[in-house]
């Protein structure tokens, strides 16, 4: 399985660490809604098909990526920075920085 890191290009899955279901929504830090916290901490989607996941390029640039992976075929249909901020990445690339 290859994941195309927006910084580093296509890399083997061995360089990445799975960081969980990307659909989870963290309650506001001060929230006391235990149900919401329970859902965030323990509930995971388990779809047969496209799944929104967080992967860290731990053996590379260490960026967290939002990856859409098909759980049936392992096909990766989209990769984006989890922080949603492409500007800094683009700037680094333009300047030839790693």
């Amino acid at each position: 399985m290859l994941i195309t890191c927006p910084y580093c290009g296509p890399r083997d899955v061995i360089e990445f660490t799975y960081q969980g279901d990307g659909n989870r929504e963290r309650p506001q830090p001060a929230s006391q809604n235990l149900d919401a916290w329970n859902a965030y901490v323990y509930n995971r989607l388990n779809p047969a098909g496209d799944h929104n996941e967080i992967w860290q390029h731990s053996g590379g640039c260490r960026a967290h990526l939002r990856v859409v992976r098909n759980t049936l075929t392992h096909e990766v249909s989209s990769v984006a920075f989890a922080r949603g901020d492409h500007k800094s990445a683009a700037r680094h690339k333009a300047e030839g920085k790693p």
Binding site: Q19, R26, I54, Q56
Partner: protein
């Protein structure tokens, strides 16, 4: 001259003689021979004994699908069992032995098993090893005694016990087009793709490229097909963008168009060349794959179809045409399709007499009748072979009239003398890789075969793999596939012209001839047609159950020749058509893969070693090093004659009496920097960091999202926006990842950067009543007195000319300082500290003394922060800020985490003056014979020089409330039992007067 070697022909090098042994007997073969062809040439018919019945077996095939002729190859002390003789290229000195026979191959005691056929039927193991439920042997070990012998009798080769001395390699390769199989289709595909400029890898599991061209006897572009193939392969060698991999089996098709292949680099050599591995494991990432893997011929199922001398038709054709070997002199054929007639012609041309062609079909096409006439064979259409005769070699066959519509036999049995019977039950495309890819194969009624499914990944099929069995089709499809795989659309020149024997690719739908006697479906696992029907009668009607119950297709050949006949017989028993019975999915590997190649260079301990900057000093000064995760740390600096306990007690005692120094470079260190750094730390830690003054440090605790304790450490504020976080050695990586996750995914709006700086700093902790005086003696540029450097204060100065950062904090409970310098100066600063400490009696101490002093102080580490404990369990609830939310704050007060009965941190004092052990259980009432009702366990233990007692930290149910009470250690594993007193975890100096000074 060898008895079965033809006078001319074949693609062996008759000028090169090769000597080898089989079962100790010397034989001679030629370069280009396999072990199977060389033994056949020498007149050997008996290759092995079968799995269950120990029936004599010859060689059935000429390739990778061989189920019968399995041998063990010996190289020195190293033995490799279950190798198909058809896949062993002979070399001078090759030593091979047969398997599953005792005392010898030709005289095998267990052959008597054949007589007990009813006992050894399907499900034998499940039925037999239940043991007698009634009778005199009930409840005895008699059956287990029998099992030993039965299991020994059944089986294949014996695994070796000598270590494998061979070297294995791993390779990663990338290409635009991977072509699997180098028959005419594969060669055309590789050429077409290469001409488009694509990077091509062509793999072939045999030693020579060309596939069926090497033995088909056909003509391509006016030259023998084998010459055409050799020329095509030679041309490909000249391409810079083509990599040729002979002797390479692509055995796995994984997602992302990643394929696994095994290259047998030196198995065919007497000894490997310099630097050559035995096998090479290839991981190939292909943009596109051409599957040109050909097809396997199927056996027919009839009584005695396993007798030595019975062989697949095309295998005999190959032995004759490629190796110059005749498998018999008087050859009969038995077929349900046209392809066998071509074989008959080839063998006739090679010099054999074709005595009969038995064909289940009543009608033959005129061109096939002409072929039969050409070989001058008795043509018995609408007949079937119903028995074979002979012992270790075939003597003759019996045939009878056969009606293929209802399978009925009629008329008298006729005997025909023959020393070889060739059978052809049609062809099955080698769809294994496509099946691994995921889709379900489709039954084609005309071809009587499962054809490859539609591709789910990027592959294209060509040739016999797709059910196109003629060479002309293979050539056309191969070129089209290669073009398409490379993304080309050109209309190239004319295709090579093929001259081939005629023949219809569709066989008659006949798989089995039902007559008395054992008819084998799975030769390697000795599964008969009757076993399949028995399984059906016993209720195993799913094809997956059938497979497991009868073990059909589960031998090392993975049913390459037996699956389809097995399915057909099952389908008939069920009264369903074959496609409704379904097929099992093929899984990797396609054929056996050496374990060595999977491990390749990864065996042994290849973890990196992490050494602190002062490592060499420790080793040179008598430290016993201890591996902690990837790190190596001094355990003790032992003196001559000291035990470990004596050494650490001395070190800890000296530290508390004067001063000690320990290397703390392994602590995780993370620079947390940026305008929002303080805010970030407030969210990450349970306690406040935004209130921390510059130049001060604070002890912090982190929780996980679920509210359990995660890690602890001190964080130093070096500047308004600049913090240095320390973590426990073991959790450094995890904490870093935790921080990065929250910054990247949860709070991207925070302007904070985290950087691992563990390796950039060398750290030494110096503690004890004399520690401050020692620092005062060597630090310049700053004062270190209580005013300049209060508890948790940080100063910058120099030691022996090197800049250092000193923080006054304490893990040992003494007045203590952590001195950090650039890693490159670590040893320099360390030595300066040692030198300055000499007049004060400074000692070096290791992990054992460090642990001892922390136990005395009741500090927690990973043994207590074990992923199950909360801050409250560890009496760290004073660190849980109520003024702000933090990671874990919402979940930490859940019912179960604050319920009574939780394990809480306590101290234990041994009341029987014996060492306590980590992991030992604690009980209220001792019951040595039947230990029960544990109330907790020990997490850390030592002899405390400060208390003069054996002490421990423990997690005990409602531990806080039990302080002052007694309990018992119950450690049946180490046979240690004894009373302890439960106390506070703060054994020593609980009010901290020593470290506050």
């Amino acid at each position: 001259m060898s008895p079965r070697r033809t006078d001319a022909g074949g693609r062996i090098d008759r000028l090169r003689t090769i000597r080898f042994t089989f079962d100790g007997a010397p034989y001679i073969g030629h370069a280009g021979d396999t072990l199977a062809s060389a033994l056949l040439a020498n007149g050997v018919t008996l290759f092995g004994r079968s799995f269950k019945y120990h029936r004599p077996r010859g060689v059935l095939t000429s390739g990778v699908e061989e189920p019968n002729a399995l041998v063990t190859v010996l190289r020195g002390e190293v033995r490799e069992p279950n190798i198909a003789a058809t896949m062993v290229e002979i070399y001078d000195g090759l030593t091979a032995v047969s398997q599953n026979r005792f005392p010898s191959l030709s005289w095998d005691l267990s052959a008597a098993n054949q007589l007990g056929g009813k006992l050894l039927s399907a499900g034998f193991y499940y039925k037999t090893f239940m043991g007698p439920a009634i009778g005199p042997l009930k409840g005895t070990r008699f059956w287990m005694f029998c099992e030993h012998f039965i299991r020994r009798a059944a089986g294949l080769g014996r695994a070796g016990i000598a270590a494998d001395t061979a070297r294995y390699e791993r390779m990663n390769a990338f290409c635009d087009v991977l072509v699997v199989g180098s028959g005419p289709a594969g060669l055309m595909a590789a050429r077409a793709a290469a001409d488009q400029g694509a990077r091509v890898i062509l793999s072939e599991l045999e030693p020579h490229f060309g596939g069926s061209a090497n033995w088909s006897g056909e003509t391509i572009d006016g030259m023998p097909a084998a010459d055409w193939a050799a020329r095509a392969a030679g041309q490909l060698e000249g391409y810079d963008n083509v990599r040729l991999l002979p002797r390479t089996t692509v055995w796995g098709y994984y997602d992302g168009n990643t394929l696994a292949a095994l290259e047998r680099v030196t198995d065919h050599k007497e000894r490997p060349g310099k630097g050559e591995p035995r096998h090479r494991y290839w991981t190939i990432r292909a943009k596109s794959v051409v599957l040109a893997t050909g097809s396997f011929e199927r056996p027919l199922v009839f009584p005695g179809n396993d007798r030595p001398g019975v062989m697949l038709a095309h295998a005999a054709e190959r032995y004759a045409n490629e190796y110059g070997v005749l498998p018999g002199n008087r050859i009969a054929l038995f077929t349900n399709n046209d392809s066998a007639y071509r074989c008959a012609l080839a063998l006739k041309k090679a010099g054999a007499a074709i005595v009969a062609i038995v064909d289940v079909r009543p009608e033959l096409s005129s061109e096939i009748r002409e072929l039969a006439d050409e070989v001058e064979a008795k043509n018995l259409s609408a007949h079937a072979v119903v028995a074979t005769e002979g012992g270790k070699a075939l003597a003759g066959i019996k045939v009878q009239r056969f009606d293929m519509v209802n399978g009925a036999l009629a008329g008298d049995r006729r005997s025909i003398q023959a020393d070889c019977l060739l059978m052809s039950g049609g062809w099955s495309p080698t769809i294994h890789l496509a099946s691994q890819d995921g889709a379900k194969a489709e039954w084609n009624a005309a071809r009587q075969a499962f054809l490859p499914p539609n591709a789910t990944q990027r592959w294209i099929g060509a040739g016999a793999f797709t059910g196109s069995f003629s060479t002309a089709e293979a050539i056309a499809e191969g070129r089209a596939a290669g073009l398409s795989a490379a993304g080309g659309t050109g209309t190239p020149a004319a295709l090579p012209v093929v001259e081939a024997a005629p023949g219809d690719p569709d066989p008659a739908p006949v798989f089995e001839i039902k007559a008395d006697g054992k008819s084998f479906v799975d030769f390697q696992h000795d599964v008969t047609a009757e076993d399949v029907r028995l399984a059906h009668r016993e209720g195993f009607i799913s094809v997956e159950h059938l497979k497991r119950y009868t073990t059909l297709g589960m031998a090392t050949d993975q049913g390459k020749s037996s699956n389809i006949p097995g399915h057909a017989i099952m389908a008939e028993a069920l009264g369903k058509p074959i496609p409704e019975v379904g097929t099992t999915r093929f899984r990797p590997p396609f054929s056996a893969v050496s374990i060595g190649s999977l491990a390749a260079e990864r065996f042994g301990d290849l973890r990196p070693e992490r050494l602190t900057p002062m490592h060499d000093w420790h080793v040179a000064n008598g430290a016993t090093m201890y591996s902690a995760g990837l790190w190596y740390r001094p355990m003790i600096y032992g003196h001559a004659g000291e035990t470990i306990e004596q050494a650490y007690v001395r070190e800890a005692k000296a530290t508390r009496e004067s001063a000690g120094i320990v290397d703390v470079s392994t602590l995780g260190k993370i620079a947390v920097q940026g305008p929002d750094a303080a805010e970030f730390l407030d969210r990450v830690y349970t306690n406040m960091f935004s209130t921390l003054a510059v130049g001060k440090a604070r002890y912090g605790l982190m929780l996980r999202e679920d509210g359990l304790a995660f890690d602890d450490g001190t964080t130093w504020r070096l500047g308004e926006q600049d913090f240095l976080m320390t973590t426990t050695t073991a959790n450094a990586g995890k904490v870093m990842q935790h921080l990065e996750y929250f910054l990247d995914v949860i709070w991207p709006e925070l302007k904070v950067h985290v950087t691992s700086v563990t390796d950039q700093w060398a750290g030494a902790a110096i503690g004890g009543p004399k520690a401050r005086a020692i620092l005062a003696a060597c630090v310049t540029g700053t004062a270190v007195d209580n005013a300049a450097l209060p508890f948790m204060g940080i100063v910058h100065g120099k030691i022996s000319g090197v800049s250092v950062m000193i923080c006054r904090l304490s893990f040992s409970g003494e007045m203590a300082f952590e001195v950090y310098s650039g890693a490159g100066y670590g040893t320099h600063v360390w030595e300066a500290l040692i030198e300055a400490g000499k007049p004060f009696g400074l000692v070096t101490y290791g992990l054992e003394a460090l642990g001892t002093m922390r136990i005395e102080k009741g500090h927690v580490t990973g043994a207590e922060i074990d992923g199950r404990t909360t801050a409250r369990d560890l009496h760290l609830d004073w660190m849980l800020s109520k003024k702000k939310p933090f990671i874990g704050s919402a979940m930490m007060d859940r019912e179960g985490l604050i319920a009574p009965g939780r394990l809480e941190l306590v101290g234990l004092i041994s009341l029987y003056n014996q060492p306590l052990n980590g992991g030992a259980h604690i009980v209220e009432a001792l019951d040595e014979a039947n230990p029960h009702d544990s109330i907790g366990h020990i997490t850390a233990c030592c002899y405390s020089p400060a208390l003069g007692k054996y002490i421990a930290l423990a997690l005990v149910k409602d531990g806080k409330a039990r302080r002052g009470t007694r309990a018992h250690i119950s450690d049946p594993l180490r046979n240690r039992f004894g009373p302890v007193e439960i106390v506070s975890n703060h054994f020593f100096d609980p009010d901290g007067s020593r470290m506050h000074g």
